[in-house]
Symmetry: C2
Subunit: 183 residues, 2 copies
C-alpha cells in the first residue's frame, strides 16, 4: 500500500496558528502510519534559507525553496506540511501549478487576535518599529482567494482545525477513511 504524497501548505499571519495546526496534523497522520514531514518556516530559515531577509523577493525565494523541497517529498509519496507565512499570492499560485497535490490551507485569525496572542513577542517589537517588514503591520498579507481549506483559529479549537484538515484529506482520497468516524 503505497501512500499518496501531498503538500499541505499552511499560510497566514504570524500567530495565526500555522505551526500548531501543522504539528497536530502531523501527529494524527503519524498515528495512522503516514510518512509526514513538517517544514516549519522558522526551522527552514535556519537550514534552507539562511541569509535571506524579508523583502518581497527574499520571501518569495524562501517560499519557492520550501516548495521545491516539499515537492520532492510529495512526489515520492510523503505528506509534506509547510507552515510558512508566505504572504504573496502569486508565488503560492505558482506552487499550486507546479507541484504535486498542493493543498492551500489558509490559517485565518483576525490581526487583532494574532497580535493579542503574540506568542513570540514579535508584534510588540514590530509596533515599536524594532522589526521592519513585519507581515500585517508593516508588510502586506495577500489573503488566498480560493483556498482549499480555511482554518478559522479565532473561532475553532486546534483539535477542530486539525480534524478539518484530516477530513479534507479523506474526502480527496489522499488518506484512507478508516478513521473517518472518530468523534
Amino acid at each position: 500500500m503505497k501512500q499518496r504524497g501531498s503538500i499541505l501548505w499552511l499560510t497566514g499571519l504570524s500567530g495565526a496558528g500555522k505551526t500548531t495546526i501543522a504539528k497536530g496534523v502531523a501527529q494524527e497522520l503519524q498515528k495512522r502510519n503516514y510518512l509526514t514531514e513538517v517544514l516549519d518556516g522558522d526551522i527552514v530559515r535556519t537550514y534552507l534559507s539562511q541569509g535571506l531577509g524579508f523583502s518581497k523577493q527574499d520571501r518569495d525565494t524562501n517560499v519557492q525553496r520550501i516548495g521545491f523541497v516539499a515537492n520532492l517529498l510529495s512526489r515520492n509519496g510523503i505528506i509534506a506540511i509547510a507552515a510558512v507565512i508566505s504572504p504573496y499570492r502569486q508565488v503560492r499560485e505558482e506552487l499550486k501549478q507546479t507541484t504535486t497535490n498542493f493543498i492551500e490551507i489558509y490559517v485565518q485569525a483576525a490581526l487583532a487576535v494574532c497580535e493579542s496572542r503574540d506568542v513570540k513577542g514579535l508584534y510588540a517589537k514590530a509596533r515599536a518599529g524594532q522589526i521592519k517588514h513585519f507581515t500585517g503591520i508593516s508588510d502586506p498579507y495577500e489573503e488566498p482567494i480560493n483556498p482549499d481549506i480555511i482554518c478559522q483559529t479565532d473561532q475553532f479549537t486546534v483539535e477542530q482545525c486539525v480534524n478539518q484538515v484530516l477530513h479534507y484529506l479523506e474526502t480527496q482520497g489522499l488518506i484512507s477513511t478508516d478513521f473517518l468516524d472518530r468523534s
Copy 2:
C-alpha cells in the same frame, strides 16, 4: 514492502563523472521500482542555493543544505543521490554523523583526466583565470579518507561504476538482491 532510504553522496572534482554515475544509478534503481531523487549540484544551486558563491563558507552551506534535504528524503525511505563537488572533508564528515544511511562515494579521476574531458569548458576558463575558486585549480579538494565506495572513472566504464554502487547497496541490505546476478 517499505524500502529503506539512504543518501548516496557522490563527491569529486568537476568532470569526474558524478552526475553521470548519479543518473545511471537512479535509472537502475527506478527500473527496480525504488523511489529515488537525484540532487545534482548544478540544479540544486538554482533551486536551493541561489545567492551562494564558492567561498569555503558558501560551499559548506550549500553542502549542508543539500544534506538537509537529502536527509528528509532518506529518513522517509527514499534513496537520495547527491552529486556535489563538496570539496571539504569536515562538512562531509558532519553529514555522515547526522544523517540517515549516508554513503560516501568518491568519484575519482586524475585532475588531468577531468581537465581533458572539460565537458562544460570550465577548466579552460579556470586556467585562464576567468573563474576563481575553481576546485582542483585554484581551490582545494580534500579527498575522502575512508569513503564507502571509490568509483575510478578513469579506469572503469560508467556501467561498471554504476554496478559497483548497486552491488554495495545490495551487500548493505539497502536494496534487495533480486537482481544480483545480472551480468
